[in-house]
Amino acid sequence: MESLEAYPGARVVEVRLKVGALASVVVDSLEFCWGIATEGTPLAGSRLVVNTLPVVMHCAACDANVELEGVQSFRCPRCDEPCSDLRQGRELDIESFEIEEAETEKAEVKG
């Protein structure tokens, strides 16, 4: 919301999130409640786009970052060695948002 203050009068069209597989976020539920939760806020009517990220571990044996298929086994899919060095999967970030602004306001921002 604070980030929107720089764009007075703008309408938010889309919000893009990055959600890791270990973020404890159920994307279906989030999408389901988005409309209700944003009602009466500057985000009302906006589209939610969720970019889900798989878990990436660093495998010491392969000396490489490897992507896990799920979250039931933290082993390297190449060599089957256990991995404990997490490199991706806990993200819960707002990546960006798309806004629509009136031309005059755009001019003001520029000026």
Binding site: S3, Y7, A10, V13, L17, L22, A23, S24, V71, Q72, S73, F74, R75, P82, C83, S84, L86, R90, E91, L92, D93, I94, E95, S96, F97, E98, I99, E100, E101, A102, E103, K106
Partner: protein, 227 residues
């Protein structure tokens, strides 16, 4: 009308993470080892913690605990029986503790200052989901699992177990009547968090407590050496 894309790349939990980073700095400066205990409701966090507080006190350590629950100060009263200073945090419906709650409850705590402690334990609200997302600035996150819960709990709650630094199995004294499959439980924990230290304990009989207390002491020494 024109459209514009505003890049943000901002964590939704950024505020909590920043507060937690501040707390972590304060803990380090004060030389106190802080642990965050997480589990389902009914795992036996309070009994385990009460025993831990007693045993550490018997070794001359200065300990204190913050305990989170939705309502009641029952757990704080139980823990206070150990003789350690204990403060209850009532979340009134919120299913986890966050860094702000910890920060608030560290203020104005009668007779307790971080600098005067060796260990501070935070007993989180019984819940294996949301507390995994909230950093409290702790050095060690401890996930507890009791023999009555089913050996597949780590597989059902991978986020929590994967984020833990140590695991504790509680109520080992009733493992047999519960037909607890120890090997399977250990295997499942290791599948989710390979190489994690696992302690098999009973707060009732004291089983495994010596090893746990020795681990805590080692962690403190390690921490001091780092400073």
């Amino acid at each position: 009308m024109t459209t514009r894309i505003v890049e943000l790349r901002r964590g939704i939990l950024k505020k909590n993470d920043e507060l937690a980073a501040g707390l972590r700095g304060r803990y380090t400066e004060a030389g106190v080892l802080v642990l965050n205990l997480v589990s389902s409701p009914g795992t036996g966090k309070t009994a385990f913690l009460e025993r831990t507080l007693r045993d550490l006190r018997a070794h001359g350590a200065r300990v204190a605990a913050l305990v989170g629950d939705l309502e009641t100060d029952n757990d704080a009263r139980r823990l206070a029986a150990s003789g350690a200073p204990v403060r209850q945090i009532n979340t009134h419906g919120i299913c986890h503790l966050d860094a702000e709650m910890i920060s608030k409850h560290l203020e104005g705590w009668d007779g307790v200052a971080l600098g005067g402690l060796d260990y501070l334990f935070i007993e989180n609200v019984g819940n294996l989901v949301c507390p995994s997302s909230y950093d409290l600035g702790e050095k060690i996150r401890v996930a507890l699992l009791s023999v009555t819960e089913g050996e597949d709990k780590p597989l059902k709650y991978p986020t929590m177990f994967n984020s833990a630094d140590a695991a504790v199995i509680t109520k080992m004294d009733i493992a047999e009547p519960c037909a607890f499959d120890r090997e399977l439980a250990l295997k499942n924990i290791n599948e989710i968090r390979p190489g994690i230290r696992i302690f098999e304990t009973s707060a009732k009989t004291g089983k495994g407590m010596e090893e746990w207390v020795a681990y805590l002491q080692q962690q403190r020494v390690k921490r001091e050496a780092l400073q």
